[in-house]
Symmetry: C2
Subunit: 247 residues, 2 copies
DNA sequence: CGAACGTTTGAGATGACTCAAGCGTTGTGG
DNA sequence: CCACAACGCTTGAGTCATCTCAAACGTTCG
């Protein structure tokens, strides 16, 4: 159910059926939240963490003038603010990007199931370390790629993650992000993202229209974005041709 | 000894004396390593982690042409590749930047002390999550600050971390990085870093000469770099005036 | 139907890059 | 102990990628 996609296809960390059941039992509530709603503010003490079931959420830091830099984008199956469990407080904001459905896991409940299942803590730790590995890949993207490369890299990453989640067939997926969202991810302005998308279209690397991303040749896009999926720690890094929803 | 600075001054995660003793007992070896030596390669299975005792180490990802983006800089007290403990393999390289002294902690020894001390794993987890929080601050730096701001932000962060480690008095510290290192940290070229350093000098924000950083007014530098130390999760975020070594 | 939001395009400004050369410092071997 | 090599720092000139500001156009939703 809610945990079906959590740690799915992660090398050596996929959940056992009883671990999955324990987490699902720890869920206190399923909540539907509107798009662009802030659910965690920097500095606010946390009593629960949020497992994303449907939709897209983002974590970001904003500058003095309110311009944002996203630090992470989350898709279904991600344990969005699991970092808040050991840290108690986050130093960044978390917001819904689209409308979402989330499962709320109170930290007290998490403590209980971990007390009974010492191995599970390693998997939760592992999950947060993958987030850290993704942060590093994003640092590479921002520090060393040009605008077209940054967007290409992000789209390759997203494709790989959504394939693992069963939400992309490897060439086509639904992605409800605006060009301004992409700008906040890639450290660009929305105007320039628009020009980058045109470039990608003209080069037949990627077409992104009305929330559908189409990648005719993922390998070529990966070359343009210098994308190497190792940091996602996937069990099956090749596009897996499995039943897929592309709404 | 080797662990004196590990988790020092970290909010709610400082080590208990017995935890400290356990980690020290788990150290299999103290090793001195020359500058610019790669100690972990991406993809290579890890059997131990490295606690930095003296010197500077870096974690980085490089692009197709060999241009590097640093993802982290480590100072004494940092458990450099602790991420490799749950992950088993890292997706990036780790290199000494200066000559260093490190304490080697075999993963089997770590497993043993964790089996006896279930609370310690939370602190190790916490330590890796601070690395992740630092990654996010670096994303902000690269995505939203101009060149002068990036360098200012990095120097503020470094000052704050070194104050916590007892290696800066809040205004002056030793930092054996080259301008090329700064470029690899800030996503710039070494030529441009040179011009940025001149700018910082002319604006009386910071003087960096022969490995000594002097910051006459840390508050002004923090404003220029939009630096907010919350992400370091320090117990005492104000500069602590304690005995300091500035060699 | 209108308002709000997202996309597209243009023109001009600018921050950072590239290439190139000279200078300063440090360490080492003859 | 000197000379030279290696490395890091500094500066200049010209280029280019991305930004800013501005306006128009398209789409969605109430």
């Amino acid at each position: 159910m809610f945990t079906d996609r959590f740690l799915r296809d992660k090398r050596g960390a996929a959940l056992e059926p009883d671990e999955r059941a324990a987490i699902e039992a720890a869920v206190s509530e399923i909540r539907d939240i509107a798009a662009r709603t802030t659910i965690v503010r920097a500095g606010q003490p946390l009593r629960h963490s949020t497992l994303l079931v449907e939709g897209i959420m983002s974590r970001y830091i904003d500058d003095r003038e309110g311009v944002r830099q996203l630090a992470a984008v989350h898709f279904p199956g991600d344990f969005v603010d699991l970092h808040g469990f050991p840290l108690k407080v986050l130093e960044h904001d978390v917001q819904t990007t689209t409308s979402v459905r989330v499962a709320i896991v109170p930290h007290v409940a998490l403590e209980q199931i971990l007390a009974e299942r010492p191995q599970l803590i390693r998997k939760l730790w592992f999950a947060t370390l993958i987030d850290a590995a993704v942060h590093r890949a994003w640092l590479f993207r921002l520090g060393r790629l040009d605008a077209v490369g940054r967007v290409a890299h992000f789209l390759c990453e997203t494709n790989a993650r959504l394939v693992a989640a069963g939400l992309s067939d490897g060439h086509r997926f639904n992605l409800a992000l605006t060009q301004t969202d992409l700008a906040e991810i890639c450290g660009l302005t929305n105007v320039h993202v628009n020009r980058v998308m045109r470039q990608l279209r003209e080069d037949r690397l990627c077409v992104f229209r009305s929330s559908i991303v189409e990648i005719p040749d993922p390998e070529r896009l990966a070359v343009r974005g210098q994308f190497n999926p190792d940091y996602l720690y996937l069990e099956h890094p090749e596009p897996v041709m499995s039943p897929v929803e592309v709404p």
